[in-house]
């Protein structure tokens, strides 16, 4: 992740009131040029008059930001000592303070005028207001500190520039935008979802000489949060942010930098263009319910799904497919209409516009064909979902495509969809499933393969393929830490509690025996006479 503010990227402006705004910093506009290139997390104060070279910002040092607390802490120490020496000074309380408008002697008009005149970025205003506050000397040290803090936040012209990342975006939607749109996903959910799903970078298989029976780090994602979950997983996998070039940018001077910029915009050699969705490992495969995926939030990370930036890692590592393409590719309008492959001569005869159209169609078909074939071949390393769809349906189709020991992690803002899912994996149901399956196997005629269709009519999901289904909930509680006044915050956000379902894909032993052929059937009966399934009940209860 980048440590300094970069041109043409989204960044976060935080105001003293803790309000935040997402802005795109376009270079060579006044405000942007004053902050681009500076490190994130610095707080700037807007000066009243620009300096000689046109700059109007001052970096506020950390001591100044913490001034209030540092003074308070020093005070707290002092009080402690006084208390030891003599208890003569009466403790000041807020007993005699009447809170009404009359205690503030400045009128709003006067304050507005002050704001216009005043210099020193609001500090003067705060001082004046404090001066004119009639009951000021009656306030206790604590409430005085609070009061000044509050006033200062209101009038001081400062802002902090923060990097825009998944954590921020989640909180931004939660607090300032439509929380429903991101399914009220909180930081703690994002972290836990990624960990339970065991989502991580798959390693560079070409570099690391990993014995590649299969590519590493391929994840299924079902995301109805507008792309927040995809972004969170991509962040974990190291494919969310464009390649780290800022360090180099720092050292090179402006001229060179412009050069590279020109190059990248004008003449990228056509042959070398990376094909979209072409990466084999460390990939995210998004399955979407409509014909197009909704991943609009990825735009904040420099990736627009409709006009993808080819240098962005997501261009090759993010694959999308509809449920139709996964479940029934022959019915899909794109996949089922393969544009005929034309020879070079045939192509040469075509008009330019037709040729472009041909390439477009052919490439699109090839892209989706490849993604579909690869997905249906299975071997995925995990399934992450935050979805409005019924979870059982997702698992029905996706679990068989996971590799053994791969994790399933599903987020839901409410618990009901997940309790239903837990019930589909209940011990009682698993036992019934095993018994029923064995019955079918015993009934079948020799030489036939077992017809399991009636089994899956009764059981929508194979309950033996996921262990141990677990339901989690987590919530973070925020505290204020001040000397002698440490306590949890008094108010917080309500709304959805948020739940996570977790399980690990396992491969039941019966499956392998069944696949081995007919002569095994006899032995199968023998082996099952020992109570495998009864054990199961005991073991997994």
């Amino acid at each position: 992740m980048h440590s300094s503010i970069r041109p043409n990227q989204f960044a976060v402006i935080q105001l003293p009131s803790d309000q935040t705004r997402i802005v795109k910093l376009v270079p060579n506009t006044f405000a942007a040029n004053q902050v681009i290139g500076r490190p994130f997390f610095l707080t700037f104060e807007i000066l009243d008059a620009p300096q000689s070279d046109g700059y109007q910002l001052r970096v506020v040092p950390a001591e100044e930001l913490h001034a209030e607390h540092l003074i308070e802490e020093a005070e707290a120490d002092g009080e402690g000592e006084e208390g030891d020496s003599g208890a003569g000074t009466p403790m000041r309380t807020n007993r005699t303070i009447v809170d009404d408008a009359s205690t503030q002697k400045l009128t709003t008009q006067e304050i507005e005028e002050l704001k216009k005149e005043a210099s020193g970025a609001g500090k003067d205003i705060v001082a004046k207001i404090l001066e004119s506050h009639a009951n000021l000397d009656k306030k206790t040290a604590f409430s005085l500190a609070k009061y000044t803090l509050r006033k200062r936040k209101k009038y001081i012209r400062r802002f902090t520039v923060l990097p825009l990342d998944v954590s921020f975006l989640a909180n931004y939607f939660l607090d300032q935008r439509d929380a429903q749109r991101t399914m009220e996903l909180r930081d703690e959910h994002v972290g836990l979802l990624g960990c339970l799903g065991n989502v991580h970078h798959g390693g560079e298989s070409t570099l690391d000489a990993i014995p590649t029976i299969k590519p590493n780090g391929r994840y299924f994602v079902v995301d109805e949060t507008g792309g927040l979950v995809v972004a969170a997983m991509a962040e974990r996998m190291g494919i969310l942010y464009p390649e780290n070039e800022d360090e180099e940018l720092e050292s090179t001077d402006g001229a060179q930098e412009e050069n590279t910029e020109k190059k990248s915009t004008t003449s990228t050699p056509r042959r070398k263009r990376p094909r979209p969705m072409s990466a084999s490992g460390n990939t995210i495969t998004v399955i979407h319910a409509y014909s197009q995926p909704n991943l609009s939030l990825l735009k904040y990370f420099g990736y627009d799904i409709n006009t993808p930036d080819e240098s962005h890692p997501l261009h090759t590592h993010l694959k999308t497919m509809s449920w139709l393409q996964l479940v029934d590719p022959s019915a899909d309008p794109i996949l089922s209409n393969e544009p005929p492959a034309l020879s070079a001569e045939e192509l040469a005869e075509l008009k330019a516009s037709k040729r472009t159209a041909y390439y477009f169609k052919r490439n699109r078909w090839e892209k989706f064909r490849a993604v579909t074939d690869e997905a249906r071949a299975g071997g995925f390393d995990g399934l992450i979902a935050a979805t409005l769809l019924e979870p059982a349906g997702i698992l029905k189709h996706a679990v068989p495509l996971l590799s053994g020991s791969a994790a399933v992690a599903i987020y839901s803002p409410t618990i009901e969809p997940l309790t239903e899912l837990m019930d589909l994996y209940s011990t009682a149901r698993r036992t019934a499933f095993i018994n029923r399956k064995r019955d079918l196997e015993v009934q079948k005629a020799p030489g036939e393969t077992v017809n399991l269709a009636p089994l899956f009519e009764e059981f929508p999901l194979d309950p033996t393929r996921l262990l141990p289904p677990t339901l989690h909930t987590t919530r973070v509680r925020v505290w204020q830490v001040l000397p002698g006044r440490t306590h949890p915050l008094m108010t917080g956000r309500g709304g959805a509690e948020g739940y996570l379902f977790h399980g690990v894909h396992v491969i039941p032993a019966e499956a392998s025996i069944q696949a081995a052929g007919t002569f095994r059937k006899k032995r199968k009966v023998e082996t099952t006479s020992t109570p495998v399934s009864d054990r199961d009940v005991e073991m997994t209860s």
Partner: protein, 480 residues
């Protein structure tokens, strides 16, 4: 060798660490070895003995991860005989590609083995490792470390300092978070920064144990364990004074007195030695302390040292169990069910039938005759619904699991921005001159009002965009 924690591949190989999943919360970690000197004496080579039977590793190695493995009959009584089964293990490995043959070779034991049970062979993850690891100190559990790593921005390619390696749960989670490739010559020449965890442990024995584990888990080169008192000697790798800087961007302090370590985590240490922090990146810090007093001291020093955005939180996590709850008078003899009227109606009919029966009894008593035992229908009230299987009966309910952790520790987060000198600022001003933008003089005197206005406009624009987006989607949908 790749680590099964990070790149497990699809089958379990010899010398991999594997987790043998017995049942919920009962997982045994083991290193897969066909033969093992420690366990010599078994005919089958190395054997893991569990409460569900014995599992020779020859039945585990070369199996796909996630496989259900049936226990084998192992003679645990008469050890010490010449291990003759080496041959069998070799045979197994050789025939592993053809699963049929392999099944045959082990099937000799299967009939008796099934009686004791089975397990599932899974590859290790930081989560399963955390639940099964040998406890040495307080363990940082999944709900805590998942949140911490997320807030610390410990992502692929980052370097994490961990002080207080303890039991190693956080170490494993952190190395998964930052992993983006194994160190080797090729990746070193390619200018790509590899993720790394620098772990410091004060307790010599524990440090040694963590080192061993890291080797066993094939994480060497990704985790560097140092035995060190970080309060005194700081965080440089190798020599405390002249060693290399780990150049960390994320720091996790699980120490009894984090404030004593903070003095080393500055951009320019007073003693003139190198800073352990990455000079070109923001530093994210988290301390993990169980007591409020520790937090207050830590936060206070953080403020003095210029850490920003200091926040303190605690993580409350529960697991929830889901059950079917059956209540009703028709549940007599059903396991886990409560025999009690499930509704007022059922209670009424029960009261009436009871009354009826009492009347009949009294009558019979008076007449001196015997009563027929009540028929099935009298007890059940109404005929049972035979079509619904038992697993589908009752109401689905959920509750928090019976044992919960009500407090783990307080987490203090803080951020230290990059150093920014006057010189840097001047350089930056040359690169991004403010006078390039004379055409927008209005913005030069940006009052609060104007700022507000701008934000409003921005917001409006965003809303517009959103509206458009929605419309686009809507049209797409309708097209679809």
């Amino acid at each position: 060798m790749p680590s099964p924690f990070l790149t497990p591949g699809s089958i379990a190989q010899a010398n991999d660490v594997a987790l043998l999943h017995l049942r919920r919360d009962q997982t045994i970690p083991t290193i897969l070895r066909a033969t093992d000197s420690e366990h010599d004496g078994y005919k089958e080579g190395k054997v893991s003995n569990t409460r569900f039977g014995s599992f020779p590793h020859s039945t585990l190695i070369n199996q796909p991860w996630g496989s259900q493995i049936v226990a084998s009959k192992v003679d645990t009584g008469s050890r010490g005989r010449k291990p003759s089964n080496k041959r069998k293990a070799e045979e197994l490995e050789a025939s592993a590609t053809t699963t049929g043959a392999e099944d045959d070779s082990s099937s000799v034991k299967k009939p008796e083995a099934a009686a004791s049970g089975f397990l599932h062979l899974t590859y290790p993850t930081p989560e399963s490792w955390t639940l099964s690891l040998p406890h040495r100190t307080q363990v940082v559990y999944t709900p805590d470390y998942s949140y911490i790593l997320h807030r610390l921005r410990a992502r692929a390619g980052a370097t994490v300092i961990e002080a207080g390696a303890g039991s190693g749960s956080f170490t494993h989670a952190a190395v998964r978070a930052v992993f983006n490739g194994y160190p080797n010559e090729e990746s070193a020449t390619k200018k790509r920064r590899l993720g790394k965890v620098c772990s410091f442990e004060f307790h010599e024995q524990r440090a040694g144990r963590v080192k061993e584990e890291i080797s066993e888990h094939e994480l060497d080169g990704l985790v560097e364990v140092t035995h060190r008192d970080v309060y005194e000697d700081g965080f440089l790798l190798g020599d405390p004074k002249t060693g290399r800087s780990p150049k960390a961007s994320a720091i996790f302090l699980d120490l009894p007195a984090p404030w004593l370590a903070l003095k080393h985590l500055v951009r320019k240490p007073a003693s003139g030695i190198e800073s352990p922090l990455d000079p070109s990146s923001t530093a994210y810090l988290c301390t993990f302390s169980p007591c409020l007093e520790q937090v207050e001291r830590t936060v206070r020093l953080m403020r003095e040292l210029g850490w920003l955005d200091i926040t303190m939180v605690e993580v409350n996590h529960n697991r929830i169990e889901v059950k079917r709850e059956r209540i009703g008078l028709d549940c007599e003899g059903v396991r886990g069910a409560t025999v009690f009227p499930k509704s007022v109606d059922e209670a009424l009919s029960k009261l009436l039938t009871d009354d009826e029966r009492a009347k009949r009894l009294r009558q019979a008593h008076l007449e001196g005759t015997r009563v027929n035992p009540p028929s099935q229908e009298d007890i059940a009230g109404e005929p049972k619904d035979q079509s619904t299987p038992t697993y589908n009966l009752g109401r689905l309910v959920h509750r928090t699991e019976s044992e919960i952790k009500t407090h783990t520790s307080y987490l203090v987060f803080a951020i230290l921005p990059r150093d920014w000198s006057e010189e840097d600022e001047q350089k930056c001003r040359q690169k991004w001159p403010s006078d390039k933008v004379e055409e927008e003089p209005k913005k030069a005197t940006k009052s609060r009002k104007q700022q507000k206005k701008e934000f409003k406009e921005l917001r409006l624009q965003e809303q517009k965009e959103e509206q458009e987006e929605k419309e686009e989607q809507a049209t797409e949908n309708s097209e679809a």
